[in-house]
Subunit: 415 residues, 2 copies
C-alpha cells in the first residue's frame, strides 16, 4: 500500500515558503500503516499538474494533493482534476451554504462570486467539508486509485486530513502495520555511535531498518519495520531498542515517539512538583518559545526574562555589575549568577541561563562568535559549561537550546 | 534553463523532518535566474534514486541532490551515482586530509575507517570541499546534464551551495534574468483583495504572473517575470507594483524582498533612536524569538519578560493585582498595564504586551480559547485591541505575533 504526496504552488518552487504540509501528512499516513513513496512539489501549471497526477497513479494507490484551491486566478487544481477525470465542475450546495455562514459569522457580510465559486467541485468528487475555510476537500477516484485534494493552508489541511481523510483511508484500504521507534541521543557523533553499535547493527534482521538522523549535536537512531502481525513487530523492535539503549545508556535521552526532551523535562518537573524559569540572553527567547509550543506547560513553567541589553542583567536580574566587569558578560560566573537570580525573581526551583555571542558580529565582548555559557541552577546547586558552537547564528542558537535542555534534564535526573 | 531538486532520505518520507533545504536552494537558484521545475523527495533506496536521477535528467539541465552522504550504512547516494555514471569510487586526497584535520581540531582524535570512507568519491566527480563537515560536495555530468550532490545537513549544504556550487552554475549556464517582487499586506482576505484589484489584474501583461500567498491574517502578492533584458523587466514589474501599492495603500506593509515587518520596525527604531521591550504572556517568547532571529537587533531591542504565571505579572512587572482581579487576566486593561510597566522595567520607548488563551485548555479564565489582548505602549500613548484567533494553539500564537508587529509598526509610523 503506497501513497504519494503532490504539493502544488509556485511559492514552493521559488523557495518563498517551506513545505511543512508534506511532513505532517507523511507522519499521519505512517501511523496508519501507509507508506509514502514519493513527495513531488510542482508548479501551478496545467500540463505539469496533469503529468504529476498521471505518474503518481502508476506508482501509488493513494495520491494526496495540497494547494491550488484558493479563490484567485492562479489556483487551477480543480480545473486540472476535471480534465484528469474527464469531469466537469458542479456547485456543491452544503459547501455553498457553509461559505455563506463563514462570511456571515466572521466578516458579517455576503460572499462575493469568487468566494462562492469555491463551492464548485468535480461532479464525481465526494466533498469533504472544510470547517476552517472556504475551499472544500475532495475525494476522487480513477482506475482504482484514490486522489484527495486539500487546501494548502496548513491548519485547514491538518483538520481535513485528520477528521475527514484518514478515517476514509482506513476504511478503504487494507494496510500493513508500520512501526518506528526512535532513540534520542546526545553528546556523540554519528560515526562514533556507528562504531560502538557496529556489532549490534550487523545482527539486525533484514526486515528491520536502522537510520541515523543527526541534528545540531544530537543523533536520533530510528528502527523501522512493517508487517501484518502488529504484536510481533512491536515486540521485536522494542526488544532491539532495549538492547540499543543498553549499549548507549550514557548518551540516551529517551524515545522520541513517546517524548521529546522538553516533554520529559515537563513530566519530571510536574511529578516532582518543581518549577522552571529562564534567563535567556544570547538565545533571546528561543528556549521559551520551544517550551511554550507544548500545551500544558503552565503547570511547571513560571516564565522568563530576556535581558538582551547587558545593563538589564544588573537592573532587572540583579547580577552584580562587578561580576560582569570582572569576568566579562559572556562567562560562567555571569551565567551562574543569572540562573541563581532567575530562581529568586521567578520563585522557581530550576533556572536555565544563557549568555553568549550568537553572531554574526562579535559585539562588545572579547570572546569569539559562537561562544556560549549555559548555567543551570537547581536544588542540587549550580552547574555551568562554556561552549564554542561555530559561526552560524541559527546554529549557535539552536545548539544552545538543545544543550540547555540536556543540561537541565541531567540536573533534574540527579534527584 | 530548468533545474530540479532531489532530496534523499527516509526521514523526509516518514515525516520525521521538514525539508527546509529545498526552499533555500530554490531561493538561491531563482536569484541567479535558474527556475526550479520540480522538487522530488525520495527514499534511501537504490532503484528509487536511479529512477529519480534518470527522470530529472529528461526534464532539467541541472539536478541538485541533497542527502544520503553520511558515514553510515543507510547512506547510499554515492554508490548510486557511481552506478548512474558507470563510475567507481576513488579516494580524494584533499578530502582525506580535511577529515583528519577536522577530527584533530574538534575532537583531538584520529578518524576511524568509516569517517575516512567519506573521502571516497566517483572518479569523474569534481570534488567541492565541505568546510563545515566531512562529506564533500560533488559536481558530476552525464549527457550534458550537471548533477550536484550535497550533504543534507542544512548549514553544510548552505555553505557549499553558496560558496562552491552557485559560482560554478553561473559560469556554466546561460541564464535569463528572473525577477520577483512581493507586496506584504495585512488586514484583508485574499478574495476581498482580489476583488479590489480585479481591474488592475486583468490588465497585467501575459509575461507577468501574479500570485496570492495568504498566511495567518496576512496576504502577500507576488509579481514574477523573467527574460533577457534585466532593466526593462525590473522597470515593468516595479511600475506595476507601484500601481498595486496605490490601490492597496491602506493595507500595504512593504515589499518582502527588501524588508520584513520586523526589519522595517528595526530600521525605523534605529533611525529614531528608540528602543523596544516585550512583555509576552500567551505568546510565551514567540515575539522575542522572531526578533532575535535577525542579526543586529541589539541596537534597539532591550529585552523581554515572559510572566507566564499570572502572579508574576504583579510580582515582577508590577501590574496591580486589583487590575487583574477586576478586569480578568485576559483583558485590555491588563495588556495595557503590562506594556506600560514593561517600558518602565526595561527603560524602553516602545513595548508590546500580550495576554490571552492559546489553548488547548481554557485555563482559569472565563474567556474562550483563542482570545488574545495585545497592547502597544509608546511615546504617543497606549493602544490595545482584543482578538479571537480560533482554536488551534499554533495558529493563535502565530496570529498574535503577526498582529503585534503590525500594531507596533502602525504606532511607530504615527510619529
Amino acid at each position: 500500500m503506497l501513497a504519494e504526496i503532490i504539493t502544488i504552488g509556485d511559492e514552493i518552487l521559488i523557495g518563498q515558503i517551506v513545505d511543512t504540509n508534506s511532513a505532517f501528512i507523511s507522519q499521519q499516513l505512517n501511523k496508519i500503516g501507509v507508506q509514502v513513496y514519493q513527495i513531488t512539489s510542482i508548479q501551478d501549471d496545467k500540463q505539469h499538474i496533469l503529468t504529476a497526477l498521471e505518474e503518481a497513479k502508476q506508482r501509488a494507490q493513494l495520491v494526496l494533493v495540497t494547494g491550488g484551491l484558493g479563490p484567485t486566478k492562479d489556483d487551477i487544481t480543480k480545473q486540472c482534476f476535471c480534465e484528469f477525470l474527464g469531469d466537469t465542475l458542479v456547485e456543491d450546495l452544503p459547501t455553498l451554504q457553509h461559505i455563506k455562514e463563514l462570511f456571515h459569522t466572521y466578516f458579517n457580510k455576503i460572499p462575493s462570486q469568487i468566494n462562492l465559486n469555491q463551492a464548485l467541485v468535480p461532479s464525481t468528487a465526494t466533498v469533504l467539508l472544510n470547517e476552517h475555510g472556504t475551499a472544500p476537500g475532495m475525494w476522487m477516484e480513477r482506475d482504482g486509485v484514490v486522489f484527495v485534494s486539500m487546501p494548502g493552508v496548513p491548519y485547514e489541511m491538518k483538520s481535513l486530513l485528520t477528521n475527514k481523510v484518514l478515517p476514509r483511508v482506513i476504511d478503504r484500504f487494507d494496510r500493513p502495520f508500520i512501526y518506528h521507534k526512535t532513540l534520542l541521543t546526545y553528546g556523540l557523533g554519528e560515526s562514533t555511535i556507528a562504531e560502538r553499535i557496529a556489532h549490534w547493527e550487523e545482527n539486525l534482521p533484514p526486515s528491520i531498518k536502522l537510520a541515523y538522523l543527526p541534528s545540531f549535536g544530537r543523533v536520533r537512531l530510528r528502527l523501522s519495520s512493517k508487517g501484518k502481525d502488529q504484536v510481533k513487530l512491536m515486540e521485536s523492535v522494542d526488544s532491539l531498542m532495549e538492547e540499543l539503549w543498553k549499549i548507549l545508556e550514557d548518551i540516551a535521552v529517551g524515545y522520541e515517539d513517546e517524548t521529546s526532551v522538553v516533554n520529559r523535562i515537563g513530566e519530571l518537573l510536574i511529578k516532582k512538583g518543581k518549577t522552571l524559569s529562564l534567563a535567556e540572553s544570547c538565545t533571546g527567547g528561543a528556549i521559551a518559545e520551544e517550551i511554550t509550543q507544548h500545551a500544558g506547560v503552565s503547570s511547571f513553567y513560571q516564565g522568563s526574562i530576556i535581558p538582551y541589553a547587558t545593563e538589564l542583567k544588573t537592573s532587572i536580574l540583579g547580577v552584580s555589575a562587578e561580576t560582569i566587569k570582572k569576568h566579562n558578560v559572556v562567562s560562567l560566573q555571569v551565567a551562574e549568577a543569572m540562573a541563581t537570580r532567575s530562581n529568586l525573581l521567578f520563585q522557581s526551583d530550576y533556572a536555565i541561563a544563557t549568555t553568549g555571542i550568537a553572531g554574526p558580529d562579535k559585539g562588545d565582548g572579547k570572546d569569539e562568535v559562537g561562544t556560549v555559557c549555559i548555567a543551570i541552577a537547581g536544588p542540587d546547586g549550580i552547574v555551568s559549561e562554556k561552549f564554542l558552537f561555530g559561526k552560524a547564528r541559527e546554529r549557535v542558537i539552536q545548539k544552545s537550546v538543545n544543550k540547555a535542555f540536556e543540561m537541565l534534564l541531567k540536573e533534574i535526573l540527579k534527584n
